[in-house]
């Protein structure tokens, strides 16, 4: 049996958009997917440059920059391959939409209403832990999060939040002796 039958043939044509090669793609591009990949690509490039700099200080196979450089190269190549794969998928935006609108729609897709607010609460909660202590900040975080997610029955939310804080304190601090913020 010849090698031609066993091994795949790599040709530039394989990197053409899939629709041009007659391959149907089920998935569509998601809003912001290309942007995320570009950010990953940029990050990989920075990592590669930093690793190569490190490699050049001790240019040998067992040097401290060798494996990170190879790893960053894999990241960069993978990002490029995924970007090429995306070319064949239907785009999420119609042509001619301004960049600002695209950015707004992408943000709305990534962080729809309540998700964005909860992330904001998480960030605030992490900061407040330093200032008002674990019990108060946790209670406030739970109350605001639960009320944001479900407006009904405020009294139930307050009770559940208080019980949760109490349980966490008892179970983790006193039974498991885990240090709390």
């Amino acid at each position: 049996m010849s090698h031609g039958l066993l091994l795949p043939v790599f040709s530039p044509a394989d990197f053409r958009p899939k629709e041009k090669r007659g391959i149907m793609e089920k998935r569509t591009q998601q809003k912001g997917e290309r942007g995320f990949l570009l950010v990953l690509g940029l990050f990989s490039l920075i990592c590669l440059i930093a690793s190569l700099k490190m490699f050049l200080t001790a240019p040998k196979l067992s040097g401290e920059g060798t494996v990170p450089a190879l790893c960053a190269l894999v990241m960069l190549v993978s990002t490029v391959v995924i970007l090429l794969e995306l070319r064949g998928m239907p785009r999420p935006f119609e042509d001619g939409i301004p960049l600002v609108r695209k950015a707004k729609e992408t943000f709305a897709y990534l962080f729809p209403g309540k998700v964005g607010i909860i992330i904001l609460y998480c960030a605030l909660y992490a900061v407040m832990l330093n200032f008002i202590g674990f019990a108060v900040s946790t209670f406030l975080f739970l109350v605001f999060s639960m009320m944001t997610l479900n407006h009904q029955n405020k009294l139930r939310t307050l009770v559940i939040s208080a019980i949760t804080v109490l349980c966490i304190l008892v179970v983790f601090q006193y039974i498991f002796q885990v240090q709390l913020p």
């Binding site: 091994l7 795949p8 043939v9 790599f10 394989d14 391959i23 998935r27 998601q30 912001g32 997917e33 995320f36 990953l40 990592c47 930093a50 490190m54 001790a58 040998k60 196979l61 067992s62 401290e64 060798t66 494996v67 990170p68 790893c71 960053a72 894999v74 990241m75 993978s78 990002t79 391959v81 995924i82 794969e85 990534l110 729809p112 309540k114 998700v115 909860i118 992330i119 998480c122 960030a123 909660y125 992490a126 832990l129 330093n130 975080f141 739970l142 999060s145 639960m146 997610l149 479900n150 559940i160 949760t164 966490i168 983790f172 498991f176 002796q177 885990v178 240090q179 709390l180 913020p181």
Partner: protein, 510 residues
Amino acid sequence: MAFTQALGYALQALTDPVLLLCLAAGVFLGIYVGAIPGLSVTMATSLLISFTYSWATLPALAAMVGVYIGGVYGGSRSAILLNIPGAPAAVATALEGYPLARKGLAGQAIGVTVIQSVLGGFIGTLILCLGAPYLSKFAMRFAPRDYFLLAVIGLFLVSSLGNDSPTRGILSAALGLFIGFVGLDNQTGHNRFVLGPSGSMFRTYMMLGVSYVVVMIGLFGMSEALIQLRDLTTNPVKQKVDKIIPSWKNTIRYVPLTLKSSLIGAVVGALPGTGGDIAALLAYDQAKRTTKNPETPFGEGAMEGLVAPESANNAAVGGACIPMLSLGIPGDAVTAIMLGAMYIHGLNPGPLLMTNSPDVFYYIIGAMFVGNIFLLIFGFTGIKMFSKIVEIPKTILMPIIILLSVVGAFSINSSIMDVYWMIAFGILGYVMKLYKFPVGPTVLGIILSDLLELNFRRAATMTNNSIPALLADLVSHPVSLVLLIFVICMAVTSSGCYKRWQAKRAAAKK
């Protein structure tokens, strides 16, 4: 090692009351975590690491083994009652379990899944008990180059299996490896990729490297909670459950299928990168093909369709522990976390584990046997309580999960920086999941970064940093050559070009 000594270590799982309690609590917790849609065993185990950080090794492992066993089973309950698989391993169970529940046979279906999960669990543990020591002995012959290749294989398998695009998995794994390289280089002591002004808290934190437990909690716990928040509309369905314990006659009738499916589960689970989900689907498919004249057709509530996936996914637990304990390569995401936990507790999972810490090795085996007995007990009880817990709305559950993630991240080093990093990785994981990037390879990349780099550098040093000499070394040793061929085959077969070529070849044959 003498059989009696090994038995003594294994029996600790039964004789030590503290270990017994931790194991029982773990199984109990696992069942409920696994049953609640949106909460995964991986998430629970990653949170558990931070809480058991300061515990002794065996109780911590007992809790984790318990959660693992209980969680894999637990997914089937919501699959039967709500048609929502609580865990990926219960997808096949939902196909037959839910039609049974609609006929009013939910209790019967739950009973069968409990029995089959326990039987599958026992068979998987038996295979672990018999297979792991031989694999460990064989792996004792491995040189640094072989460990390097093993780490690459582990990353490749986790990256390429179980997701649509292997390239995305490889990118995730490489990202994880790179995160693992941040901090002081363990050979030269130089700072690598450390940012921030000199003397700042941020720089000091980065010098120590990002804790993989923090990354794990962020990527699995926090991100999953955020993903669940995108859809708050799912309403819980109330079910009536009775007649749970199945008859002996029915159990005996399915024994051949149980054995066959458990074997499939253990073998598939032992392959790094696969897990209970793939094992269950394969066993279900195999049962569907080979069962002649089922009482009820498949898809309408065939009992064979419950027996096969449930015995396979619990057998996969034992299977997944084989590469973890004998090679130091995890079989799935949960064993990847357990591997991390073992490192935290100063253990060295791999071929030397049986020599250096036989007590831990045999205890895990004992705990898996006893854990399955607890599964039998808890599986048949508390069904009514379960139906109440499953009804907890996401609006209450998800903020609590985020809170547990924060507490878990802080408890590792009592550092608020860990909380910030956890939130950052939670958001990263959320975005990655939205764009179909698997997060498991990232975590595995961080865990394996040390093993991979250290052994590569050792192998390079042993060949005087010469690339031709290193390549010659790889092809001149049989073990290395086999592993190298395996790596090359995986790289080629996971490439898009190969898949297209295969499709073209298949089309040409037709």
